[in-house]
């Protein structure tokens, strides 16, 4: 089509100019195109074409050079060399501490014995304290196994209060007695209140 256009119009079209320009780029010689040699109009167009191409090139190169000023290139080179150096350096391996010496105390053996004695005393004290506490807590459980029932009934034996063995009293009474014992105040200030408070044991009927 380009050849046809060239033949019909008599002048070089854009494609022909591009082809000549491409050929010139390769040969680095003055264009040997016969039409270009004899046609001034096409020479002007070809010059404009070449100028446009060189404008594109200079624009593109200046843009790239502005993006990469000299200081950036220097930094880039330094970074490349740093990366190369880092890649050549073997990875740092932290050695496992296989020759660790035992930790020894420089204090004398007397201090060690004193420390051991103090520790033993503390342990014994804590243990004894626990035992004492258990004994104290266990006290309410050692109630006398007998329950006195008051007041005596008029038709009962006037010789004295009826003592009923604890084994004869049912579980219910035992539980009441336990509750009674647990609710007995241990503080003197509360004892006065306790005295005028009716007790469960007072209402237990003897069998």
């Amino acid at each position: 089509m380009a050849i046809l256009n060239r033949l019909t119009d008599g002048h070089l079209d854009d494609a022909a100019l591009a082809a000549i320009w491409t050929g010139d780029l390769e040969s680095a010689e003055t264009s040997a195109d016969p039409h270009l040699r004899r046609c001034a109009e096409c020479r002007v167009r070809y010059a404009a074409f070449g100028s446009w191409m060189s404008d594109i090139r200079s624009e593109a190169l200046s843009e790239a050079d502005e993006a990469f000023p000299a200081d950036r290139l220097v930094a880039q080179q330094a970074q490349i060399l740093r990366r190369i150096e880092a890649s050549e350096r073997p990875a740092r391996v932290i050695a496992f501490p296989n020759a660790v010496t035992g930790v020894t105390s420089r204090r004398s053996s007397v201090a060690r014995w004193v420390a051991a004695g103090v520790a033993a005393g503390v342990i014994a004290g804590v243990g004894i304290g626990q035992m004492m506490d258990l004994r104290h807590l266990g006290a309410p459980q050692r109630f006398p196994p007998q329950v006195a029932v008051n007041p005596p009934r008029p038709d009962a034996n006037p010789s004295g209060p009826v003592v009923i063995p604890a084994s004869a009293i049912g579980n219910e009474e035992t539980q009441l007695a336990d509750l009674e014992a647990m609710s007995t105040p241990r503080y003197d200030t509360l004892r006065a209140y306790d005295e005028f408070t009716p007790h469960a044991a007072d209402y237990v009927k003897p069998r």
Binding site: M1, D13, D24, A28, T30, S31, A64, A67, R72, I80
Partner: protein, 236 residues
């Protein structure tokens, strides 16, 4: 009127030829430095190896940064891509064959890295919503620095031109974009681009030609009508 040819542009220094870009004396120095680094690595002289490799980095990092930036359009990501490429080149230098220029071998590593990053970014963007551009959020380092020369209007126009160019370049197929950037921006020859990309030399030329034509259309310098006939919008 003297025709402004590609050769002329090259003579004026506007376009570098592939040989100039690669730098023949530099290429020999590259080969020597690469061999020295390999030898030092083999003998376990790592400090020497790094010292010699620093020469290679200094010689190629600007060009590498440009390529990565044109691919990724993000200075920080391009920086990382360049660093990764240099790291990979260093660690795999034993597989480098001296008959191939270091530049070609390295550029291939870099381009592959950039393409991998673009793929990863595409996958990421599929799941993540992009943040709106805040003040200074997505801007380049150069844009954040106070301006010294151009006026704000000129900066705005330049930014707009660059954005349009980047958008147009982004619309090119991967191969066309790669060939265009390497050939036109970096001044590589078809043979060098062929070695870098693994494409045939003639295929490289075809891709370059198609890339130029498509860019002309995308940037409004040329239009193609329904019949496939091209018209030019102007000479500017």
């Amino acid at each position: 009127m003297e025709p402004v040819t590609c050769k002329r542009l090259k003579q004026q220094g506007v376009i570098m030829s592939g040989v100039q870009a690669a730098g023949s004396p530099g290429r020999e120095a590259d080969g020597a430095a690469a061999s020295a680094v390999k030898a030092a690595q083999a003998e376990g002289r790592h400090a020497d190896a790094r010292e010699r490799y620093a020469e290679l980095v200094a010689r190629h990092q600007r060009r590498a940064s440009r390529i990565a930036f044109h691919y990724l359009r993000d200075a920080a990501e391009a920086d990382e891509a360049v660093q990764d490429a240099f790291m990979k080149a260093y660690t795999h230098l034993s597989s480098f064959r001296e008959e191939l220029p270091f530049e070609v071998w390295f550029t291939r590593i870099l381009i592959n890295g950039c393409l991998d990053r673009i793929k990863a970014r595409t996958r990421r963007e599929r799941w993540m919503t992009s943040m709106p551009d805040g003040p200074g959020g997505e801007r380049d380092f150069a844009e954040r620095t106070p301006g010294r020369g151009p006026t704000p209007e000129a900066q705005l126009l330049s930014r707009e031109r660059r954005r349009r160019l980047a958008d147009a370049l982004g619309k090119l197929p991967d191969r066309q974009r790669t060939v265009f950037m390497l050939s036109h921006y970096e001044g590589c020859t078809s043979r060098e681009v062929s070695a870098m990309t693994g494409l045939n030399e003639s295929t490289v030329r075809v891709h370059l030609f198609r890339a130029i034509r498509k860019l002309r259309v995308l940037l409004g310098e040329s239009t193609v009508d329904d019949g496939g006939k091209e018209t030019q919008r102007g000479n500017s």
